[in-house]
Symmetry: C2
Subunit: 303 residues, 2 copies
């Protein structure tokens, strides 16, 4: 999400003001939460995946494209620490796409659906003369905790991530595993804020800080860089990592680490501060970490 997009999201949120009692979480988080008239609530997310942007039909199998489409929304369910319930998929199909190709796309959707227990309950298909467009909308319900938002990081929280960062362009963006179970455990351990890394760590940490009205300091040498990338810049800025970025008090994080039973590792990489800037310490120097990269013009002394 670019700066212009952030402004637009604010505009949409202001224009279509939501009742907080009916919609505890609205526009601007990974999912919106909707209270039901007769009690309980559901969450919803939507994503549009486009040929040439999120996948390339010339290089990627339709099964993988189908899987990725579902997995991106499942990752949103994880980002809120919620349990996937059901999905709908609408597609714009290139002319002569044909039912065999559609069945291959569906096969990939089925893989994700079965693995994460999130049935496909409906859809819509239209042909046009343009490339493949896929939109997935997914419903989830809260787990044992309230959904974990982006806007509730606290000063003093550890900043933590799951897995390793920067491997998406090496192919991870097609085969990643949404961190549903991990997210539920993290929320139960007391996370204050969480999101999934879809725009890159530098951008997404800035989202959390902006929405929480906080600052952050991240230590470059603590960032778990993917073996497939090995380059810090990729770990900071590559989109579609689909790992979790979360913040929680240090004591709770220590307890969580002791109890941790998942293969995916969790790593603390920095701390939420009471300021309003996101900073990074690289080679003992502190710089401002802007969305999309650290800014060489704004070098700061350690403070």
């Amino acid at each position: 999400m670019s700066g212009g997009e952030t402004e637009l999201v604010k505009y949409f949120a202001a224009k279509g003001k939501l009742s907080r009692s009916k919609f505890p979480i609205g526009i601007g988080d990974d999912m919106a939460q909707i209270k039901l008239p007769k009690g309980g609530s559901v969450l919803i997310t939507t994503d549009m995946l486009l040929d040439g942007v999120h996948f390339d039909t010339k290089k990627t199998s339709l099964e993988q494209i189908g899987y990725k489409s579902m997995a991106a929304s499942l990752s949103d369910c994880a980002a809120m620490a919620t349990i996937p319930l059901a999905a709908v998929v609408s597609v714009g199909l290139p002319r002569n796409f044909g039912s065999q190709k559609l069945k291959r796309l569906h096969k990939g959707i089925l893989v994700a659906m079965k693995k994460y227990n999130c049935p496909l309950v409906g859809g819509d298909m239209t042909s046009w003369t343009k490339p493949l467009a896929i939109s997935v909308s997914m419903l989830s319900v809260p787990g044992k905790t309230k959904p974990v938002k982006r806007s509730t990081a606290k000063a003093g929280d550890m900043i933590c991530v799951t897995g390793t960062l920067g491997g998406s362009l090496a192919g991870k963006h097609l085969v990643f595993e949404p961190r549903i179970k991990e997210a539920l455990a993290i929320a139960e351990a007391g996370a204050n804020s969480m999101m999934d890394i879809s725009d890159g760590l530098s951008t997404d940490l800035n989202h959390i800080c902006r929405l929480s009205k906080k600052g952050a300091i991240v230590y470059a040498d603590k960032i778990p860089v993917s073996k497939n990338s090995k380059i810090l810049n990729n770990a900071l800025n590559d989109g579609e990592d689909f790992e979790l970025l979360f913040t929680m008090p240090q004591k709770k994080f220590k307890r969580l680490k002791k109890q941790w039973r998942f293969k995916t590792k969790i790593t603390e990489i920095g701390k939420i501060t009471s300021g309003n800037k996101v900073k990074i310490e690289i080679n003992k120097k502190i710089r401002v970490l802007l969305p999309g990269g650290y800014d060489h013009l704004k070098e700061n002394s350690k403070s």
Copy 2:
């Protein structure tokens, strides 16, 4: 929905078999119904609207395109006799679409949202080098009755429609009013089956009959043809009428007509039969009414 699409929908439904207790209404109706783990249920629909297919950005204002995108899903909520709850919209934007154009699209969405009390709670936007693609997913909840399905028409039911048919190409498809309130009243009066007319009366009545394992006889001279069209063929076959097609016992329909307080008229146009063919009486001759038009090759004597 063409014959090939009907086959595909069957294939998808068979491959991703849904638990009937968790998903009372699955793939193949206007919306899917999802029971929630803690009680209650929600319904969901998704639609993809594409430039050059459902609208033409060269001829139609972005406000109208935004309105239509929401109204098409609202019409699905009506088709099931349910109450709209919230919507999410994802868009694929042509490069250089810009925030002003996006705000105009949003303005049309807001009009529908406010008129039908269905807030936009989230979205997703991506730029690409191709034309505008819009996907709307909408949630609803049941009204006083269970959602009304396509598959539950009974032999002897009157076949009825709201409004007039065949005006969509004259512009109605951009400005139509989803029949939410009318649908709730029709359901409370005891409709056995219902859907909205999105593929044309001939096609959609065939859907109801196929899914209900019933036949039908429709009387051409009873079909309320739109003033904008005046041509029976348009009333039978034009898509995007977005009127309601419903069936109910004759006594209940008579009672409904007496109580009817809406501007939109309701008209009985035929009867559900115990057969398996959809037929139409035109000029005192009975013909088979196939999806997309009546079949001149299959002329039948009155029987």
